[in-house]
Symmetry: C2
């Protein structure tokens, strides 16, 4: 490169360094201000996630950006990333306790990851939390005495047995579970306990930094009035509630979660048996191609029994998996016949059935693919 | 909320507004400075994407952030998003022309999306570009006269026929294609033209805002020295080159692209036949659950014949699809037998085969899921 150009580049890069340092200082200031907002909200018991306020703030910033010739999507993306940071740090402040009179909260399986997350949230909200884990059953009566709420958070396959094993609880104690199927655990809880009963399914992994914007599915059991405090408490933690019947919930989980896990498992098995060379495959990686691989590979970084439980425990698992097989064979027949027109016709049928959702899904995935591309460094 | 708290909140929000306005001004300044860097780079023909410089800049910022108690990942994510914006705007400046003596570049299928993108890039780099589309064949001789390079960018199923239809090109003219399979088109080009031949597969869709960090697969045909200028030109556009044989390429595409498309098609068909209610399913959506749905649904927002071409044109499509069927049946047998232990054993086998990649994929997808959650507004 010509020497003059090289000197000009160095000068520009120095200026960018200065801008970035100012940027860092602004970031620090913004995080501090938002933390102060959080502290007030917590004192008042206001949910940390305020969708309307967030939307109106973003709309304002977009308008301001446009006036300055800055892509409004850029400022929105940057602010959303900063908000994630702020939500995550809200946990440090603690939360308002909605039900000051509640007895101890006993987390059965509280040494597990999800149970541990809820133990932490209850503790941060000022409740007395007790853990009843595998080795604590000799001590169960003492732990459960005077309990205000009992949260069952154990692997799916043991949930019903654990519920049956519980000693008689106080009649006004709330019994709830966090299992990812809902019909069987809810029935078991209603049978085991005559008092308030609630089925919850937190739709997120235990490693989330915050509950902000996450969804908790609510399946009512018995005596809704007795657990309104908990639903309010969960919203203060930042989550959105979605009410459904246990069977609606289980069917939805079967259609998306269990069958997607199952087919991803088959795909992983397929890649292994075809002697695929992952390292070589990644060399070709477009963002979407890499994401497709990641959606399969991510499964295998996790506990097999977790997936086995989710797949095997679904009431309709076998029937649905057989249906899927029939559809695969149908599509394979098109391929065998070289029937491209038939394939396109079926494709168009499904596309019509998806309707506007197809484009919506395409847009959502496009945004994620851009982020995936941003983080490349190779 | 208490009046005092409410007043305190308003005051804090005013301060956040002020910070955000300063942030916008900094953004504007940074984008302008980076644009100046881009202008110098273009003049000098330096690639717009400089991995090492980018990595060292990010490392510096992370250290500075840590010193200020700011999460280093936060500043890295924000800067990467800003860099995407800068890369996208580089196209406005134009690129250095590597081969000043080249005759016109003729894009066969230049009215299509991908052909159009390359027509734009060549034009921005100062080459004379001519489009030869479906209706221009009567005029083909005139369009191709004196051509320095002919780029074939038509649907897979027509690629070979189009190559055969080309009139005799100048002996030193470069003939290349952009098709997503490589063995058949490359063979057809080598047969049709005695001069320089090159097979490329741009691993991205035509809607990318910039080629920065994208991958272009290079399958050498004949007379590499004659097209070094083009490989250099593509790198100036920001892309990374990956060399592979045509058969390596086709096998990789079959294993990931074609079969993933095929199984996603089957999944869409399955959801339709099971009368899934997408709107209801989305109510339950965790980020991963939503992404799983999106990876299926996104397919159906696109052209069926594009997917039919990709799936049906792969040389081993049928054999691989049959292999997959066998593995599905094997997994289904485990489900039918209620053999959870067998499932876990198979799972562990595949996990071992994935090795460290499984965790890497999990981390990558976790980051994308966080971004997906950031953009929720419901």
């Amino acid at each position: 490169m010509a020497e003059q150009s090289s000197r000009a580049l160095d000068a520009l890069r120095d200026k960018i360094d200065v801008v970035d340092k100012e940027l860092l200082q602004l970031l620090r200031r913004r995080l501090d201000l938002v933390a102060e907002v959080g502290a007030i909200k917590h004192k008042e018991g206001v949910p940390i996630y305020a969708p309307k306020r967030e939307a109106s703030m973003l709309a304002k910033r977009r308008t301001e950006a446009e006036a300055m010739g800055v892509n409004p999507q850029l400022i929105e993306d940057l602010l959303r990333r900063m908000m994630r940071e702020s939500y995550a740090s809200e946990n440090d402040v603690g939360f308002k306790r909605v039900n000051p009179d509640l007895g101890p909260v006993v987390i059965v399986g509280g040494a597990g990851k999800l149970g541990g997350l809820f133990a932490q949230l209850f503790t941060l909200s000022g409740y007395e939390v007790r853990i009843l884990d595998q080795d604590d059953w000799d001590n169960a009566d003492a732990l459960l005495k005077d309990a205000g709420a009992v949260v069952v958070s154990v692997p799916i396959e043991r949930t019903e047995a654990v519920i049956q094993r519980l000693p008689q609880l106080n009649p006004d104690c709330l019994l709830l579970d966090l299992t990812s199927i809902k019909q069987a655990p809810l029935a078991a809880m209603l049978k085991a306990h005559p008092g308030p009963v609630l089925g919850l399914h937190p739709m997120f992994g235990p490693d989330v930094a915050s509950l902000a914007k996450q969804v908790v599915v609510v399946c009512h059991g018995r005596d809704e009035a007795a657990y309104q405090w908990l639903l309010q408490q969960i919203q203060i933690w930042g989550a959105r509630l979605h009410e459904a019947t246990a069977s609606e919930h289980d069917q939805a989980m079967q259609l998306v979660q269990a069958m997607r896990h199952f087919t991803a498992f088959v795909y992983g098995l397929h890649l292994k048996r075809e002697h695929a060379d992952i390292e070589q495959l990644l060399q070709f990686s477009s963002p979407i191609y890499r994401l497709e691989l990641a959606m399969v590979g991510r499964l295998f970084a996790q506990d097999p029994s977790l997936y086995a439980d989710i797949i095997f425990a679904q009431p309709d698992a076998l029937a649905r998996a057989r249906h899927y097989l029939a559809r695969y064979q149908e599509a394979l027949a098109l391929l065998e016949a070289g029937d491209k027109a038939g394939f396109c016709a079926q494709f168009a049928d499904v596309a019509e059935w998806f309707g506007d959702f197809a484009q919506q899904f395409r847009n959502e995935s496009a945004n994620m693919l851009m982020v995936a591309n941003d983080s490349r460094s190779g």
